[in-house]
C-alpha cells in the first residue's frame, strides 16, 4: 500500500499540452501512474503520450464515465492555479496536486478554504508533488535517481524540494525506502498540512515510520507534535527542521519560512516534537541513523 496515490489512482492532468505538462506526463506514466485524461482549453481531440485531451475537466470526466479521474495533477501557471483547482473541485475530484510556485497569497487561502469546504485535499503549491515510488507519481520527482527514490516503508512529508532529496538520500543510505513522499510545499498557506496526512500514514499497513522535513516559520511541525501527544499518530517519527540559525524577522527561503517573535522558531518546534516523543535531527545526515534506532530491522 501507500497513501494518497497508488497504481489504481486515476489521474487527470490539467495543462497537459504545455511544455512541463507533456514532459512530466511522460515521466508519470513511466512511473506507473494511470493518467487517464488531460485538459487544455481549445485542444480537445489531441493526445499527449496517448492520453486524450479535453477542453475542460467536466468534459473529461463526462467522457470517462464511471472511470472518471479521482485525482488531478496541475501543470498550470501560478496565477491560473486557483481557477484550475476550483475546476477540479467542481468536478468532484478530491485529490489535487499543484506544483505552481508563485500562487498569490490570497488565492492560496481561497484554495485551501474551498478544498476544506468539500473535504478535498490539495497538495501544494510550490512543491514537487506526491510520489509512491514504484507505483504512482503526481509531480516532478527525479525518481530515476536510485539513491533517493527507492520503494520502501517510510513515509516522508516535506516543505522543501532539494532538501528532501538530500534528506531522503540519507534515509535510503540506511537501507530504508519510501512508501509515499508528500511535498506539502513551501508556500505560507499549503493546501494540506503535515498533520492532515498523519491519519493516512497511521492507517497504512505498509508505512513503518514517518520522516518530516520541516523548516522555520508557521506551526505545521507543532501540529504534528500535537497529533503525537494526542495519540492520533503512534508510529516512529523523525524530524529534520531547517533554519535553526536563521536570523529573526528575515524571510529566508520559502515565503512560509519566517520567524516573528518566538513563534515558529526551529527551537520551539524541536522542543515540541521532542516532548511529544519524536526524534529531531540537527543535520540531514542524522535522519537515517535516528530512524534506524526506532526501526531496527531493514525495511
Amino acid at each position: 500500500m501507500s497513501i494518497f496515490v497508488d497504481e489504481t489512482t486515476r489521474v487527470l492532468v490539467q495543462g497537459i499540452t504545455g511544455k512541463e505538462g507533456s514532459f512530466w506526463t511522460k515521466h508519470m506514466i513511466e512511473m506507473g501512474t494511470q493518467v487517464i485524461a488531460g485538459v487544455t482549453p481549445g485542444k480537445e481531440g489531441e493526445t499527449v503520450e496517448g492520453v486524450p485531451v479535453y477542453h475542460s475537466v467536466a468534459r473529461a470526466q463526462r467522457a470517462s464515465g464511471e472511470h472518471a479521474a479521482d485525482a488531478a495533477m496541475l501543470f498550470v501557471p501560478p496565477r491560473f492555479t486557483k481557477d484550475a483547482v476550483y475546476e477540479a473541485l467542481d468536478a468532484s475530484i478530491q485529490k489535487i496536486v499543484t506544483i505552481a510556485d508563485g500562487i498569490p497569497l490570497h488565492e492560496q487561502i481561497e484554495i485551501r478554504a474551498a478544498a476544506r469546504s468539500q473535504g478535498a485535499q490539495v497538495v501544494g503549491g510550490n512543491t514537487s508533488g506526491v510520489i509512491s515510488p514504484g507505483k504512482s507519481m503526481l509531480g516532478i520527482f527525479p525518481y530515476w535517481i536510485q539513491r533517493v527514490y527507492k520503494p520502501g516503508r517510510i513515509g516522508i512529508m516535506t516543505r522543501s524540494g532539494s532538501l528532501t532529496n538530500e534528506v531522503t538520500a540519507m534515509i535510503v543510505e540506511q537501507g530504508f525506502g519510501v512508501s509515499t513522499l508528500i511535498g506539502v510545499g513551501g508556500d505560507p498557506v499549503p493546501g494540506t498540512r503535515f498533520a492532515e496526512f498523519l491519519a493516512q500514514f497511521e492507517e497504512d499497513a505498509d508505512t513503518d515510520g514517518v520522516v518530516i522535513v520541516g523548516e522555520l516559520g508557521g506551526t505545521m511541525e507543532e501540529e504534528v507534535a500535537e497529533a503525537i501527544t494526542e495519540g492520533r499518530f503512534t508510529k516512529p517519527l523523525v524530524a529534520f527542521i531547517g533554519g535553526r540559525t536563521a536570523p529573526k524577522g528575515k524571510r529566508m527561503g520559502h515565503a512560509g519560512a519566517i520567524v516573528t517573535g518566538s513563534a515558529g522558531t526551529v527551537l520551539a518546534k524541536a522542543e515540541a516534537l521532542t516532548k511529544a516523543g519524536a526524534l529531531v535531527a540537527d543535520r540531514p545526515s542524522q535522519v537515517g541513523t535516528m530512524l534506524r534506532t526506532r526501526i531496527p530491522e531493514t525495511r
Binding site: 496565477r79 490570497h106 481561497e110 527525479p142 532539494s162 505560507p188 522535513v213 533554519g243 516573528t260
Partner: protein, 407 residues
C-alpha cells in the same frame, strides 16, 4: 514587499483612513541617488515642510515628530523617531528643532532615504490593529488590542488576553457585525466603537485590494476630545506573488539594504545580505537554509544567502556576480535538483567562472537530474566536484578560515 511608513500612510489615505498631517523630506531618491543640493538644501526642505505644516494647521504648532523612513523595527528605541517641541528649553523655535533632530537621526549611521515630518497628535489612548492570514484556518485574521504602541509579539507572549482575535471568511469578507462586535469586545465607548468599526472596514478593504500579507497600525491614536482614530504608524507588506498585478508597487532601491539585494530582487533571485565570509549560491529554499545552518554549525559565517534554483537555475552568472560583490572568501554551491538540471547548472557555473574569473575559491556540491553530466563538465573545467553536503560545507569553512588552500 514591505512598504515604508510614508508609503503605507499614502495607502491608508487612499483608503480613507485618517493619518496625521505630514510632509516627506527626501534624503535620497527612490533609486538610491542622493537628493540634489546636499545638507543645505536638505535643511531648506525641512524648513519648508515645517512652514507648510504650520500653515495647514491654521495656528501655531506646539510639536512635531521627525521619523526616519527605513525598513527596521524598533525605530523609537534606536533614536530614529524624535518628538520635537518649540519650547523645549533651549529657546529654539520648532523649525530649528526639527533641523537639529533630523541631523541627529541622519548621523546615526543608518541608510535613511527620507524623513517624515509629522504633526504630533494629542491623544488619550493607543490601540493596536492588524490584519493578516491564518494558514491553518484558511481565513483572514484581525488582531486588536487596547494596548497599542508596544511590540505585539511581546504582548502576545506575556498577556495574550490583552489581544482579541477575529476570523474573517475570505469569500464573504468582513461583515459589519464583526467590526462592531470587535469594537465593543475591546470595551470601547459608543463613539470610539463606531470609528473603530469604520477604520477596520477600510483597513480590510485595503488589505484585500493591495493583496497584502499584513496591514498593521501600531499604534492607532485615539485623539483627545471627541475621539477620532488616527493611524500613528503604517506597516504594509504586499504579497510578492501578487506584485504582477500591482504595478503601483515597483521594486525600488530604497526598499533594500544593499545594492546586491536590490539587484537580486530585480532578477527575482532570493537574496539576503550578511557580513560573513562564505557566499552561498545554492538551489532550493530548504536546502539553502540548511546549508546556512551547517555553515554556522561548523563555525563559519555567511556573507550572503542566495538561491539560484527553480526558475533561476540558468542564472549562474548573474548569481555569481552578486556573490562577488561581497567581500566573501569562498563561494559555496550546493544543489540537488529536479527540473533544475545538474548539468545545466554546472555548465552555468563553469561559464560564469570563465567570464568572471572569480578571485576566490569555489566549492561545488551539485546533484540531481543528470548529475553524471554535471560531474563531467565540472571536472573538465578543472573543478573537483563534491557529493556530500556536510563535507562541502566543512571544506568551505576551512577555506574561508584560511586553514586550507585550494582553488
Amino acid at each position: 514587499m514591505k512598504r515604508l511608513e510614508f508609503q503605507g500612510k499614502e495607502l491608508f489615505s487612499s483608503a480613507g483612513i485618517p493619518v496625521p498631517a505630514s510632509r516627506l523630506v527626501r534624503v535620497s531618491e527612490p533609486d538610491g541617488t542622493p537628493t540634489d543640493g546636499g545638507t543645505q538644501a536638505l535643511h531648506a526642505r525641512l524648513l519648508d515642510a515645517v512652514a507648510e505644516l504650520t500653515q495647514e494647521a491654521k495656528g501655531p504648532l506646539a510639536s512635531l515628530v521627525v521619523k526616519a523612513q527605513l525598513d527596521m523595527g524598533g525605530r523609537g528605541k534606536a533614536g530614529l523617531i524624535q518628538l520635537v517641541r518649540a519650547d523645549n528649553g533651549t529657546g529654539q523655535d520648532l523649525a530649528s528643532a526639527v533641523v537639529a533632530a533630523a541631523g541627529q537621526i541622519l548621523d546615526k549611521g543608518y541608510r535613511i532615504p527620507a524623513l517624515l515630518i509629522e504633526e504630533a497628535v494629542d491623544l488619550r489612548e493607543e490601540l493596536y490593529l492588524s490584519i493578516s492570514v491564518d494558514p491553518c484556518a484558511a481565513c483572514h485574521v484581525v488582531l486588536a488590542s487596547r494596548e497599542g504602541g508596544v511590540d505585539i509579539e511581546t504582548l502576545a507572549a506575556e498577556r495574550p488576553d490583552a489581544i482579541r482575535r477575529l476570523d474573517v471568511d475570505p469569500f464573504r469578507g468582513i461583515q459589519a457585525y464583526q467590526t462592531r462586535g470587535l469594537a465593543y469586545d475591546l470595551g470601547l465607548d459608543k463613539t470610539t466603537a463606531r470609528n473603530f468599526a469604520s477604520l477596520l472596514t477600510k483597513l480590510y478593504a485595503l488589505f484585500t485590494r493591495v493583496d497584502a500579507e499584513l496591514v498593521e497600525i501600531n499604534p492607532v491614536f485615539v485623539t483627545s476630545g471627541e475621539p477620532e482614530l488616527v493611524a500613528g504608524d503604517a506597516k504594509v507588506i504586499i504579497d510578492d506573488n501578487s506584485l504582477y498585478r500591482h504595478t503601483e508597487f515597483p521594486i525600488e532601491r530604497e526598499q533594500y539594504d544593499s545594492d546586491a539585494a536590490f539587484e537580486a530582487a530585480l532578477e527575482g533571485i532570493p537574496y539576503l545580505q550578511f557580513d560573513g565570509t562564505i557566499s552561498l549560491m545554492c538551489a532550493g529554499a530548504g536546502l539553502t537554509t540548511t546549508v546556512f545552518d551547517l555553515v554556522n554549525y561548523e563555525g563559519g559565517s555567511v556573507a550572503n544567502y542566495l538561491e539560484f534554483g527553480g526558475p533561476n537555475y540558468n542564472k549562474a552568472q548573474r548569481a555569481m556576480e552578486l556573490c562577488l560583490q561581497n567581500k566573501s572568501a569562498v563561494i559555496l554551491i550546493v544543489t540537488f535538483g529536479t527540473i533544475a538540471r545538474a548539468d545545466v547548472m554546472a555548465e552555468g557555473v563553469v561559464n560564469a567562472i570563465r567570464t568572471l574569473k572569480p578571485d576566490r575559491p569555489i566549492v561545488t556540491c551539485i546533484r540531481g537530474t543528470n548529475e553524471e553530466g554535471a560531474d563531467r563538465i565540472l571536472r573538465e573545467a578543472g573543478l573537483e566536484p563534491m557529493y556530500n553536503t556536510e563535507e562541502a560545507v566543512r571544506l568551505a569553512v576551512k577555506l574561508a578560515a584560511g586553514t586550507e588552500a585550494r582553488v
